[in-house]
């Protein structure tokens, strides 16, 4: 594996490897001095062409725990302001000694584009409305931890499926691991009939359900998506109030529909009062901060796999 660009191109075996590596590495985070020298001397460049809190700091934290050096790039403070192209930016940072690029970009395929034109590993940290593979991996890790398995589950994703890179990665990731995925939300934000054949990896494994109640029924995992205010405003949804009334999740709704032991996840940042009712913060089966913690472990596993090559077996 040279790059981590999307879940679509990962095989189940590769996903399993990353999950088990992350499980092993997570222990480091609980040590009195959470640092190992494995990636000492490696330079990880975080290229963030879009705002991010969790993903960016999570990658940085992961790199630092593994003793890699990091450079953080954000568009506002770089020559992108002067009109430098993505390709030139990459070439220059490569010349500065980058050993791996982590890229978040508003345009789909940007990580694929740079992976084609540079010789060091590229990790997609979210590209436009395409994929966000490390988010899906950390979601898998969280579910595996909480429910003990990834197969035979009913995973329900609620919200703007069409424009969500998290949803696109999760839909594939959970199916690849043997679960069933149901998506629901406002109809104009759901996959089109002509797109369904891509998302359904096997017959009966994927469903677009217009009724949120039907979708949620007996769910083992519910993933609420963020309404992307910065991307669409209210252009795609008549109003946030209406969204909350028909597609927002409440404790009552979750208690009614979740299977025994079922959990609620959210990739963050949360619009409280829109996709989630504020009281959900106290809901005992929401695992939103566990996801954040697992994000560091997953990203450690990814960096290690891409940078340390065959040495991943004896990291501890």
């Amino acid at each position: 594996m040279k790059d981590l660009l999307d879940i679509a191109s990962l095989e189940k075996k590769q996903i399993e490897h990353l999950l088990s590596l992350a499980e092993d590495l997570k222990e480091i985070l609980y040590r009195p001095i959470p640092k190992v020298p494995t990636l000492r001397g490696k330079l990880v460049v975080n290229l963030f062409y879009e705002a991010s809190t969790r993903t960016r700091f999570s990658f940085e934290r992961a790199a630092k725990v593994l003793s890699a050096d990091t450079l953080n790039f954000s568009t506002g403070a770089s020559s992108v302001k002067k009109g430098e192209t993505l390709l030139d930016t990459i070439k220059n940072l490569r010349a500065l000694g980058a050993n791996l690029f982590v890229i978040r970009h508003p345009l789909a395929g940007a990580p694929h584009f740079i992976a084609r034109s540079c010789d060091v590993p590229v990790v997609n940290a979210g590209d436009g409305t395409h994929e966000h593979p490390t988010q899906a991996l950390l979601d898998l890790l969280t579910v595996k931890e909480k429910l003990g398995t990834l197969s035979g589950l009913k995973v329900v994703i609620v919200g703007d499926i069409k424009h969500s890179r998290v949803a696109h990665s999760d839909i594939l990731a959970f199916q690849k691991m043997g679960s069933k995925v149901v998506v629901t939300g406002p109809a104009p934000l759901l996959p089109e009939p002509s797109e369904v054949s891509y998302f359904a990896l096997e017959k009966g494994r994927f469903k677009v359900e217009v009724s949120p109640e039907k979708a949620l029924s007996r769910a083992d995992v519910v993933i609420a998506l963020r309404i992307q205010k910065e991307r669409h405003g209210t252009a795609l949804i008549p109003s946030y109030q209406e969204y909350h009334q028909f597609f927002g999740l409440t404790t009552e709704l979750l208690l009614k529909h979740l299977s025994e032991g079922g959990i609620l996840m959210h990739p963050g940042p949360i619009n409280w009062g829109i996709e989630l009712a504020p009281e959900i913060e106290k809901f005992p089966r929401q695992v939103i901060l566990d996801q954040v913690e697992n994000g560091v472990a997953i990203r450690m596993a990814v960096l290690l796999t891409l940078l340390a090559g065959k040495k991943d077996e004896n990291t501890n």
Partner: protein
Amino acid sequence: MRILIKKARILDPSQDLDFVGDLLIEEGKIKGFDKRIEGVEGCKIIDAEGLWCFPGLVDMHVHLREPGEEWKEDIETGTRAALCGGVLRIACMPNTKPPIDSPELVKFVLEKAREKASVKVYPIACITKGQKGEELTEFGRLKEAGAVGVSDDGKWVPNSEIMRRALLYARQFDLPVISHCEDPALSKGGSINLGKMSAKLGLKGIPASAEVVAVFRDLFLARETGGPLHLAHISLKDSIKVLKWAKEEGIPFTAETCPHYFTLTEKEVDGYNTFAKVNPPLRTEEDVEAIKEALKEGILEVIASDHAPHSPLEKEVEFELASPGMIGLQTLLPLSYKLVEEGVLSPIKCLKCLITNPARILRIEPPSVKIGKNAELILFDPREEYIFTQELIKSKSYNTPFLNKKLKGRVKKVILCNFLHTLC
């Protein structure tokens, strides 16, 4: 200078001519053709056994990029690519910078073409000033200056009343109105066909309705006005259904497609291949089959290249930022010839789509194999297979998904009036 072509398969779609024989050219004009021509003194003899000899193609949909975007292409390089592709007449689209929307700009293109073009250039002018879709251009003066049609190509005319008026006015001047059928309200922000591939790549898809809605509106306006409507680059099975309905209704219209719509599918875009990004987008296998069937049935009458050069500045970028379009002057003939090989079209029918039908729509006399006419002929080897490498490309740009792919059928020689060009 006398040239005697021996033992060629001579084809002329303007008179359904198809025989093996000899053809004599004298002083740039066709002097005679027959099963055998013997005893002519002082000729350059071309042994053309196994080759096809037919008039040069008429490509009614070409972007030459001059004025304004000469780093992508100019009239000199674009027409040289045309010559090498066996395209000896081209109609160039007006979406240059500035757009060709005045008689002065039409004359500018013609003047530049006189100076440096290798083939004949026929300018198409804008339907609306600045291609803004608001005010009609001066159809009468544009025609007088040499425009052979009007088009806001690259853009549809979204205001139906403006388009209606354009058709009424164009009818008066007998100027074809060439419509780029994509409703921008539906296609905006889209980079590829809506479907499996848009889902895979996470790109906004352009729905079929963007084309079909536009096709239907334009046809209905043509019915009401009797205006000379030509629909550019049709790409969809569903559009063909509407075109069939329009034929049954007796609506006056003509329609074209391009080789990429009967050769490639949306799969070509996989991996964010910007060379396969084009408007309208590449569609599905079903659509490819429907386009072939429509050519066979004569619903689509023209095959044009939609030659759209872009440099690495516009193509080696993030997919959504990449400009749509691909070059096509040198692949037009081999890709169309494939339809003959597949038995979709007869050789004569194929050449009608490439020569006589576009000429008729542009109201120009087609090149032909007739005694006394200017020699405008190509010698084509239908058997030759070759890799379409960057060295073969005569255009300034090399943005084509057929780059480094195998093609079959190659233009060997071009005879254009007094010039004999040996290409390979």
